[in-house]
Amino acid sequence: MYKVLIIWLFSVGSVVAQEATKHFGPQDAAIEIRLRTTTDIEIFAPTVVDFLSKHPDFSVHYEQWGSNDLYEKTSNECASKTPSADIVISSAVHQMVKLVNDRCAAPWNSDVSQKLMPELSWRNEIWGITSEPAVMVYNKTLVSQDQVPYTRFDLLDLLRPQDNEFAGRVATYDIEASGLGFLFAFLDSREASTFGALMEAFARSGAVATCCSSEIINGVIEGRYLIAYNVLGSYANTIAKTQSVLGIIEPQDYTLVLSRAAILPGRNANRGAGLFLEYLLSDQGQAQMSEQFLVTKSQSAFEQNEPPATATRRIIELGPALLVAEDQATVRRFNQRWHDIFSTFDR
C-alpha cells in the first residue's frame, strides 16, 4: 500500500508544487481549515480524522507539500498579505522560525499551548507539535548484527576501509532538495566535529544523497541501500510496523529530535486552525499522534533491548537561534561545502 502512495506522490509532486491534496470531513462543513504540511497524508490522516470526530462542523483541506516549496509559498503569501492557508506544519522548522521572525505568523494564546516546553514554542506564534528522532535505519537481513552502527563513530568505522561493502549503499537526504535534510545536516555540523569526517566518508564511499524519507527507507527495505543516515524516526517506525526487515537505531552519541513546527499564517489566527492546534497539543492529540510515531518518548519501541537514550536526545529548539540555518550566506556556504566534498570524491 505504501508503495502505491509513493508512486502516486511522485507522479503528482514532480509537476505541481503541492504533492497531494485530500479533503477530510463534510464538504458543506461550516468551517474549512486549510492545512498545508510536509507530513505525508498517510501518516497524519488519523490525527485529522480524530480531530474532525470531535468537531463535526469542521472540515480539513489537507495539502501536502515539499518543505522548500511550502516555505517559499508561505513566505510569498506573507509578503503579499494574502495567506491562503490557515495552519502550516513543517518539518523544516528553521523555515517556520524564519516565517515567525518575518512576522508572518499570528499569535494564539491558550492554556494548552502554554503547557508546552518553553523550548518548543516562541512568541506564542510557533509550536512544536511532535517529537521525532533523526534515526539511522538498516536492512536487517543484509547488515549483520555485529555490523549494526549504534553511534556515528560506528558508522565512520564501517565506511573507513577501502572498497567496503557499504560503498555506494549508504543513503542520506539531499540537503538541497529537502529543507529537513539541510536542517539535520546543518545541526550535525554544529553539534559535533564528527560530521566533517562523516561527510567525507559519505562522499568517499559514494553515499547517495536523495530526496524524501519514504524513498530512502524504501531503498533500504529493497536492499538498494544497506544503511540510511538521518531518517525521520516517525516514517521509519511506521514502515517498520509492516516491514520487519527494517532496523532502526537512535544514535547513542546524540540523537536530534525534531518537533514539527506549526504556525498560523497571517496577522490574525483562524479560529478553526487555533482549535486544531490546541487539539494537536492536547493529551488526546499527542496520544493520537504517538500511534503514528509522530510523538515518541525515547528509544523506538522496536529496539527495546537497547537502553533508553533520553540523555542523548537533543531537542531542536524552536527559537531565533534557528535563524542561522536560514541565513542565505550560511546556507550557500554549507551547500557549497557539501557540493565540494561530494564532487571531490565523485564516482
Binding site: R103, G319, P320, V324, D327
Partner: protein, 464 residues
C-alpha cells in the same frame, strides 16, 4: 460653653494629617512613577543595547576574507545572546564595502549616514516588519591585500523585552513606594493618636469632674499640651476667684441686709403701734434715715460688686486721673446729699496717666469722697498729683479720719459691713481697686487733717 463650640467641629487632626500626607504621597508618587518609568526605560534600553552591540560585535568578529570574498560565518552565540530577550524578533544584515547586501535581511531602515571609520556603535530606532525595533550598526574595517574597506553589521530587535523590563522596574519602584507610603501614613496616624491621647485624657478628666470642682488639673503632659492645661488652670483659677467673690458678696449682702432690714421692721412695728402722733413722727423720721443709710449701703455694695467684677474682667486702658477728679466734681452727686458742702479741686496742668479701668477707679474715688463728705469735716478737697514713680488721687478733709486701720483686709470689710457701716465698705472698695492695679491705699493724719490717697504706678506720657 455654648453648643456652637462643640458642633462647629472642623476636620479632625488625624483626617488633616491623612489628607495632607496622602496628598503629598500621591504627588510624590506621581513624580516618582514618572521618574521610575523614565529610569526604567533608560535602564532597560541600556541593558538590551549591550546585548545588541554584543551580538553585532560577535557577528562582525566572525567575518573573514577568503579569496578576496567576504565570508560571514554567522555565529549561533549571537542569536543566543539576542534570545535573552525571549519574545523579540531579530533583524540583522551584513553589508559589504559598497553597501551591497552580503547576508541577512535587506533592511531599508538604516539611516543615511556617511560611513565613519570609527568603531563606535551607532544606535537607532526603526520599524521591523511594522513593529518598533531598536538597531545598532557596527563596522569592521579590513585592510588586506585582497580586500580593503569597511563592512557594516546591523543588528536589531523588537522592543517587547525592553518594555517589559521598564515596566517591571517601574512596578517594583512603585511597590516600594506604596509600602513606604503606607508605612509613613500608618506611623503618622499612630504618632497623632499618641500625641492627642493626653488631650483626650484631659477632656475625660474635665468631663468627669464635679461642676464645682475648680482645682488644678494635673499638668503632667507634653509641653504643647501642658501650655494649654496651664491656661486652662489659670482660667479655672480666675473662675474660682470670681466664685469666691460672688459667694462672699452673697453672704455679705445677706448678712448686711438682714440687720438694717430687721431694724426697719422693728421700728415700723413700733410706728404702727404708737398712738402718739409726735412719737410716731419721730419713729418715721428714724425709719427714713435708716432707709437712706440702707440705700447708701446697697449702693456701695453694688458698687463693690461691680468694681470687683470689673477688676477681674474689664479691659485696662491708659487714663488720666485728672479726668476722674473732674468727673466727680462735675457729676455733682454729692451736692444732692450734702448741699451745704463745698468741694475743692487741686489738679495740675500736666496729665497724670495710669493704666487701669476708668469705671473702677472712678467708683473708688467716689467712695473716698463720699466717706469724707459723710464723716469728715468740711472743707473737703479732692486732688491729683504725681511723684517720681506714683500717680495719686486723694481726698482730704479737716477731720481725724476713721478709727480703724486699713491693713486688716477682708475682716475689716466684714466687720464694717456687719455693723452696717458704709464707710468701711467704701474703703474696702478703694483698697480692692488699688490692689487690683498694683497700687495701694495710703492714709495720712496730720495738722492739716486727714488725707487718704490711692497710689498707682505712674504711666509716663511717652509710654503711651
Amino acid at each position: 460653653m455654648s453648643n456652637k463650640a462643640t458642633k462647629g467641629q472642623t476636620l479632625s487632626l488625624t483626617m488633616r494629617l491623612t489628607v495632607g500626607l496622602g496628598g503629598l504621597l500621591l504627588f510624590g508618587g506621581i513624580v516618582l512613577t514618572l521618574a521610575a518609568f523614565a529610569y526604567g526605560r533608560v535602564a532597560a534600553r541600556d541593558a538590551f543595547d549591550r546585548l545588541l552591540v554584543g551580538a553585532a560585535n560577535t557577528i562582525a568578529s566572525n567575518i573573514s576574507i577568503s579569496d578576496g570574498q567576504l565570508v560571514v560565518d554567522l555565529p549561533r552565540s549571537a542569536f543566543d545572546l539576542l534570545a535573552l530577550a525571549p519574545n523579540d524578533r531579530i533583524a540583522y544584515e551584513v553589508r559589504g564595502v559598497n553597501g551591497e547586501l552580503v547576508t541577512g535581511y535587506a533592511l531599508d531602515v538604516i539611516p543615511d549616514r556617511p560611513m565613519t571609520f570609527s568603531d563606535m556603535p551607532h544606535y537607532f530606532d526603526a520599524d521591523f516588519f511594522g513593529e518598533p525595533a531598536r538597531f545598532v550598526r557596527t563596522t569592521r574595517t579590513f585592510s588586506e591585500r585582497q580586500f580593503s574597506g569597511t563592512v557594516q553589521v546591523v543588528v536589531g530587535q523588537t522592543i517587547l523585552a525592553r518594555q517589559e523590563l521598564a515596566f517591571d522596574i517601574t512596578k517594583r519602584a512603585l511597590l516600594g513606594l506604596l509600602i513606604g507610603g503606607i508605612a509613613v501614613l500608618g506611623m503618622a496616624l499612630v504618632v497623632v493618636r499618641s500625641a492627642l491621647r493626653p488631650l483626650e485624657k484631659i477632656a475625660d478628666t474635665i468631663r468627669q469632674r464635679d461642676p464645682r470642682d475648680l482645682t488644678q488639673i494635673d499638668q503632667h503632659a507634653p509641653k504643647e499640651i501642658s501650655d494649654m492645661v496651664s491656661s486652662l488652670n489659670a482660667f479655672m483659677q480666675r473662675l474660682e476667684q470670681q466664685f469666691d467673690v460672688m459667694r462672699n458678696l452673697i453672704s455679705d449682702t445677706a448678712h448686711q441686709l438682714r440687720t438694717p432690714v430687721a431694724a426697719l421692721r422693728a421700728q415700723s412695728d413700733f410706728a404702727l403701734r404708737e398712738s402718739d402722733e409726735i412719737k410716731r413722727a419721730q419713729i418715721v423720721s428714724k425709719i427714713h434715715s435708716r432707709s437712706l443709710s440702707l440705700g447708701r449701703l446697697l449702693d456701695q455694695m453694688l458698687s463693690r460688686a461691680m468694681v470687683i467684677h470689673r477688676i477681674e474682667s474689664a479691659r485696662r486702658e491708659t487714663l488720666d486721673l485728672r479726668d476722674i477728679a473732674l468727673t466727680l466734681i462735675d457729676d455733682g452727686d454729692h451736692s444732692l446729699i450734702y448741699p451745704d458742702h463745698d468741694i475743692h479741686l487741686e489738679i495740675g496742668p500736666e496729665p497724670i496717666l495710669v493704666y487701669g479701668d476708668l469705671i473702677s477707679l472712678t467708683e473708688a474715688a467716689k467712695n473716698l469722697l463720699s466717706n469724707a463728705l459723710a464723716h469728715g469735716v468740711a472743707p473737703v478737697t479732692i486732688g491729683v498729683e504725681s511723684t517720681n514713680s506714683h500717680a495719686c488721687i486723694w481726698v482730704r478733709d479737716l477731720g481725724d479720719g476713721p478709727q480703724v486701720e486699713l491693713d486688716i483686709g477682708d475682716r475689716f470689710v466684714r466687720s464694717s459691713v456687719s455693723k452696717g457701716k458704709s464707710a468701711g465698705l467704701g474703703l474696702s472698695i478703694a483698697k480692692s481697686v488699688a490692689d487690683a492695679f498694683e497700687g495701694r491705699l495710703e492714709l495720712v493724719r496730720n495738722e492739716a487733717g486727714f488725707k487718704i490717697s490711692i497710689l498707682l504706678p505712674l504711666k509716663r506720657g511717652n509710654d503711651v
